[in-house]
């Protein structure tokens, strides 16, 4: 087999951080090659170098044995490689159709035929079974829909090499399956792919070989068949790591979070929910089930049309986040870039906003106390950062997610609501984050975990499954994957 894509001895530094330190990868023609590593290992940095967005400080990239084109020659790059980046490259103010065909709206002709473009877009969306209106503004789509649009766009170029950087972090089961079907058929057509994910079972399902990065360096490359799960995790983390074991909880009697008669037009209707101290309640459901909308209502990000939310015994004014937080709520929002962190501010500040009032008197915030508290959180959640003063915008995706988690946990909440808590988080970090949720519950907090990921839901004492805006079933602990998925898909009521 010939080598299709190769990166040799790549070094990339960002100020004091070395993102890649002599890293290399070689991907054979026609294979689907996984790249795994912990958050901040340098995977996305390699992607930006392989797609010609950034110039390596040292080292080179070769396609089919030839040197890579000049950085300025974008067309040449696009012929060689298409990519779904980890960071969104959707332009919110433009329609889905235009986003799909950005900079190639008019094939051959000089002027754009919008009607034709819409047709092409619909065709493309249908091919990938993406249920999105081609004329909707991309900014109005849900996070997941946007991700599907990005995937459809990358696959549509007809490039012989495609990179997918954590495409599934925001997709639910059926959508992932559809993506995999598509990837298999592309592979049959001889397309080479590089696949990045923190879901290691996906790696086994779809990839032939795997490269592991650790601390900005290449650790190993092997056929997936030769690398059992445990060894793979060990290669990533540099130590043997046991699988996560959900703990036993002893729920108390006191209800710490209650929603009564909640309805929001178009999202969900007539929901009653209550969470007791020491209890973890899961919220599951496939796309458009309304689970995120409900969770956002519980934390105050959304104002329901009817109904009340009670946090820790206090009825909270609807749509008032500060009031909910004051009553003892901590939460992780769905989209970390949107509501999670302020990129220019430091890890320390982002993590401690909810307790700023406790870090000093008379409206003062003591930087020393803030740093101390932040260092504690960095240690507890194992955040890979230069220190509390580094801007969160400079962190890798998974580490930024941990900072958002730190913010939710910093005030020792009585109620914890986490939405897609482990999106884009590496295996070890996932354990740390789920452990953090369980620690809080162990201290007597009640928690709501909203997720499509069965691993996340395993820590729940019961899972409320939603379908089309209603809670259809309350599943107690002890479910099998198959059972739960069947309920989520609405196949069982």
């Amino acid at each position: 087999m010939s080598i299709h894509v190769e990166a040799r001895n790549v070094v990339k530094r960002f100020g004091p951080t070395t993102a890649l330190n002599g890293a290399e990868i070689a991907i054979a023609e026609g294979e689907t090659h996984a790249l795994v590593g912990r958050n901040g290992a340098g995977k996305s940095t390699l992607v930006s170098i392989l797609t010609g967005l950034q110039r390596p400080d040292e080292g080179e990239v070769r396609f089919s044995g030839e040197a890579a084109p000049a950085l300025a020659d974008r067309d040449a790059w696009r012929q060689r490689v298409a990519c779904v980046y980890q960071k969104s490259t959707i332009i919110p103010a433009l329609t889905v159709a235009e986003n799909l065909f950005l900079n190639r709206q008019s094939d051959q002709r000089a002027t754009i035929n919008w009607r034709r473009l819409r047709g092409r877009a619909r065709e493309l969306l249908d091919t990938y079974e993406v249920d999105v209106d081609a004329q909707a503004l991309a900014g109005d789509l849900s996070v997941e829909q946007r991700q599907l649009v990005e995937i459809a766009r990358a696959l549509s170029f007809g490039a012989r090499f495609i990179i997918l950087d954590e495409p599934t972090a925001r997709l639910d089961g059926p959508a992932i399956e559809r993506l995999f079907t598509r990837m298999r058929s592309l592979r049959e057509q001889g397309v080479t792919m590089m696949y990045i994910s923190h879901h290691l079972d996906e790696v086994y399902e779809i990839c032939q070989s795997v490269t592991v990065f650790r601390d900005a360096r290449h650790v190993t490359t092997r056929p997936v068949a030769d690398l059992p799960h445990d060894e793979l995790v060990a290669a990533m983390t540099g130590e043997a790591t046991a699988a996560y074991e959900a703990r036993e909880h002893t729920p108390g009697e006191r209800v710490v979070l209650a929603g009564a008669g909640l309805s929001l037009t178009g999202r969900y209707a007539n929901i009653d929910i209550s969470v007791r101290e020491g209890e973890v309640v899961g919220l599951a459901g496939s796309a458009s089930s309304g689970k995120v909308g409900l969770a956002e209502t519980l934390v105050g990000l959304r104002r329901p049309d009817t109904g009340t939310v009670t946090v820790n015994g206090t009825q909270v004014r609807p749509g008032d986040v500060p009031a909910a937080m004051r009553a003892g709520l901590g939460f992780v929002p769905e989209d970390r870039h949107h509501e999670g962190f302020v990129p220019l501010l430091s890890v320390g500040e982002n993590a401690t906003f909810p307790i700023a009032r406790k870090l000093g008197r008379y409206g003062l915030v003591s930087p020393a106390r803030r740093r101390a508290r932040a260092e504690q959180m960095i240690g507890a959640l194992d955040i890979k950062t230069e220190g509390p003063d580094q801007p969160v915008g400079d962190l890798s995706g998974g580490n930024a997610q941990k900072v958002v988690f730190a913010r939710a946990l910093v005030d020792d909440p009585t109620v914890l609501v986490v939405i897609n808590p482990t999106a884009g988080v590496d295996v070890k970090a996932k354990q740390a984050l789920l452990g953090a949720v369980e620690d809080a519950v162990g201290r007597g907090a009640g928690a709501v975990v909203v997720s499509d990921e069965l691993d996340d839901l395993r820590i729940c004492d019961r899972v409320l499954v939603m379908f089309h805006g209603r809670v259809v079933k309350d599943v107690p602990r002890g479910w099998t994957d198959h059972e739960l998925v069947a309920v989520m898909e609405g196949m069982e009521e």
Binding site: T51, K87, N103, Q135
Partner: protein, 326 residues
Amino acid sequence: MTAPAPRLKLARFRDLTLVPVIVLLLIVGAFLDPTFLTAGNLTNVLQQQAAISLLVLAEAMILIAGKFDLSLESTVGTAPAIAVMLVVPVAAGGFGIGLPGALVIPLALLIGAAIGAFNGFLIIRFQLSAFIVTLAMLIIVHGFLQGPTEGKTLFQLPDSILYLGSAMWLGLPAAIWIAGLLFAAGIFGLGYLRIGRALYAIGGNIDAARAAGIRVDRVLYGVFILGGTLAALAGILETGRLGAIGNNQGVGWIFMVFAAAVIGGVSMDGGKGTILGALTGVLVIGLVQNILTLIGVSGFWQPVIYGSIILIALMISRIAGGKAQD
């Protein structure tokens, strides 16, 4: 799927949220003064707005691409003035170089383009803040009018530069035709050409645009150069209309240019708005000014009324548009 049809309509309407305001102004104007709705008066309004509308066109494109150009207003005076000074004799305030008079329009456009290119160079190459670069350039470019003329008005102008701003074509001032055609070209270009759509992509998410293979720097240079050229053309039209180039030509326009673009729906954050919308913004400003003149509001209180009308237009367009502005 049946969604497309209503959505299309909605999108169209979004450009036209100022239409009710324009209709309202036409009705109120007709009511307040009988002269208002005459063809003569409305032609005057269009002619008066022709030059500034070209600046709005230029600024709208630059804003859509996510940048900023304050210096356009200075180019309106300086580009034609320097061109004229290269042509006319020393006695008429020229440099004494005496290039042929026929060159004056191309020269002016070239100077405008050069100013735009220099702005682009500083902003793109040195990654300086567009706002502050073009603010400095606003001052500098105006200095290049005031310095060589020593503050004097140029009034012995070659005929060629006077023509466009004063001629009548088919019974309408040529300036109206020119502005109309350029707006039509702008609407078409930003709606149907790849390069026009690239402006939206760049303004909407510059990294995504780059990743999509758009030659971001080149397009931005282009839009700054085009902006400078349009400002020079605006200066030529204004020169023809006024018959001379005063030291204040164009000074103070830029605020109105932004006001027109923004109430017309162009976002200061880039990536949003249309040329048609900007045009409605220009019309609103022009009609308001005309009505205030006709009814003879006291000069002292005029600003209050004028500013309040802009605010009201803004609120109407906000309510009709339904979206928060930025």
